[in-house]
């Protein structure tokens, strides 16, 4: 086992889409059992950073990178590193709820089944614990066979969180998980994220400063692909060290 301090560490990461440089020499780490907010104005590379952590950027043919992303001390871009095992360890929740066009139960069972769990009792237990962790169990426990796309937007997003938790990943990525939801659903999901950090390392992209303040413990501020600040959220928001951070917090850029 390789020695490591944090589940995920980023070392001098630069990325390009074609000739366009998106991230420029980024180094940071994500403290275990905390929520890290990745903030910044639109187009600053927040999502690209997040997607570099589970290699989802590999889907883009023109994607190129330099530098390392270490998961448990091992570079995930190393030749021979299994991207499928990596993604089992790093769950992801997307901007818009994206349940599979299947029943609620099948949505949750999909991941565990992929990784070889076939026992019905075990799957049953996973469905229940995942939905409970995502605070959805009480609302859907009698409707597990109903199609997931029939749920409300907020419920769908919590289902997606439950789906991500179904394979029990230590790390959870969230790409603006509440920006497509109504305020009440959004508040529920924020609460849920704070609750989940007891057991998971959560990295959340957001362009909402208040949300970062409410939810996160540490924060990274990105601007035009550069990591401007990386520290405790409170410190960044109360006393920004860089004027660009201040401009973002006060709403002058965004």
């Amino acid at each position: 086992m390789t020695e490591f301090k944090h589940h995920i560490e980023v070392h001098n990461l630069s990325t390009w889409f074609g000739k366009f440089a998106v991230l420029k020499d980024i180094s940071c780490y994500f403290e275990d059992n905390t929520v890290t907010a990745v903030m910044g104005p639109s187009g600053c590379g927040k999502s690209t950073l997040l997607r570099s952590l589970n290699r989802l950027n590999d889907l883009v043919p023109t994607f190129r990178r330099e530098g390392e992303v270490r998961f448990r001390g091992q570079d995930i871009y190393e030749t021979g590193y299994s991207v499928y095992d990596l993604r089992k360890q790093i769950g992801m929740v997307f901007q818009r709820p994206n349940p599979f066009p299947m029943s609620i139960r099948d949505n949750i069972e999909y991941g565990p089944r992929l990784h070889g769990i076939k026992d019905d009792d075990e799957l049953e237990k996973i469905v229940e614990t995942s939905l409970k962790k995502a605070a959805l169990w009480d609302e859907v426990k009698d409707d597990l066979e109903k199609p997931a796309p029939n749920l409300s937007g907020g419920q769908q997003q919590r289902l997606c969180i439950a789906r991500a938790l179904s394979v029990d990943p230590p790390v959870l990525l969230a790409d603006e998980p509440v920006s497509a939801l109504d305020p009440i659903s959004a508040a529920k999901i924020e609460e849920l994220i704070v609750e989940l950090k007891k057991d998971y390392t959560i990295i959340m992209v957001t362009h909402n400063v208040q949300q970062a303040f409410r939810v996160s413990d540490q924060a990274a501020f990105l601007y035009l692909g550069e990591l401007i600040e990386f520290d405790k959220t409170e410190r960044i928001l109360e006393a920004p060290a860089d004027e660009r951070t201040e401009a973002f917090i006060t709403g002058r850029i965004g």
């Binding site: 889907l59 095992d85 990596l86 993604r87 769950g91 599979f100 066009p101 991941g111 992929l114 991500a164």
Partner: protein, 304 residues
């Protein structure tokens, strides 16, 4: 009643009020006439075919109704069309068994596994051109390539393969459209759980695309069901059903071919049988189209 009449009079008065009102009214009438002309062929064909063939299909006399489909033509073609009905069903089943997997997996490869570029453009261009080729050309190709060059001979194999070729462009392109309509984020959600590309494609993407895919498949089936030209040179004809896969025992009749043969026959009583067959074929194609329609309407409800 008088209320409606009064409002009609009021309407006509307003129409004659000015030149602009009148032109507006005239255009409305014009469009109404156009739409009558547009839909009339369907009803005229239906009436013409049904007026001669209706009792063949729905009557209860000897050789009519269900008997029309269950008896062979026999001596002097005085019996039913069991050979053609069974032949068409067999041809369609075989053509689908070959054509659908080829086109669906072809579409999957082109849409999911390649990036936009030359390769994809060539395949799309080729299948678009293929879709526009007249069916008689498929028949001629089937004869030259399958029957002659590959020595398959006429019969059910060459006939259904020719139909399969005809299905490919339609099914390929509609499958492509259905796959493209699946939101990228569904694929990403699956991949982010550690799924392989194939697992994602099979369990998520194709599943989400299924309603659109099945619509294309059914439309293609409906289309080739009524094709005569590709079968003339490739399927042969038979008064019975095929018993072998090659040789003269594999010759097979089909409903469109039978319609053509019976209508061009001088014997008067074959006219009713030809029109009965035509009516049955129309009903079959219509049924397939209606099923396709119902499924395609469900698409919007099932996707996010």
């Amino acid at each position: 009643m008088s209320g409606r009449r009064e409002s009609l009079i009021a309407y006509l008065l307003s129409v004659t009020q000015s030149r602009r009102h009148f032109m507006d009214f005239l255009f409305k009438v014009f469009l109404g006439v156009i739409i009558l002309i547009v839909v009339s062929p369907f009803f005229l064909i239906l009436i013409q075919v049904a007026s001669i063939g209706f009792w063949q299909v729905f009557g209860s006399g000897p050789g009519q109704g269900i008997e029309f489909f269950t008896t062979f033509p026999g001596v002097g073609l005085e019996g039913g069309i069991r050979n053609a009905f069974v032949g068409t069903v067999e041809l369609i089943v075989l053509a689908s068994a070959v054509g659908i997997p080829l086109s669906v997996f072809g579409a999957v490869y082109i849409t999911e596994y390649t990036t936009p570029g030359w390769g994809r453009a060539i395949v799309e261009f080729a299948s678009d051109v293929l879709a526009g080729i007249p069916s008689i050309v498929f028949g001629a190709f089937g004869f030259a390539f399958l029957v002659d060059f590959l020595h398959l001979g006429m019969g059910i194999v060459a006939g259904s393969l020719t139909l399969a070729f005809m299905m490919i462009p339609t099914v390929l392109r509609t499958t492509q459209e259905a796959l493209r309509a699946v939101p990228m984020s569904l694929r990403e959600a699956s991949l982010a759980l550690g799924a392989t590309k194939w697992s994602t494609t099979w369990n998520v993407t194709l599943r989400a695309a299924f309603p659109g895919l099945i619509t294309g498949v059914l439309l293609a089936i409906g289309r080739v069901m009524g094709e005569t030209a590709p079968l003339i040179f490739t399927a042969g004809n038979s008064l019975s059903v095929p018993t072998e896969l090659t040789g003269s025992g594999s010759w097979v009749a089909s409903m469109p071919y039978t319609i053509w043969a019976y209508i061009s026959d001088p014997r008067e009583y074959l006219q009713a049988k030809a029109h009965g067959t035509a009516l049955a074929l129309m009903i079959m194609v219509l049924t397939v189209d209606i099923i396709a329609n119902i499924i395609s309407r469900k698409v919007t409800r099932r996707l996010v």
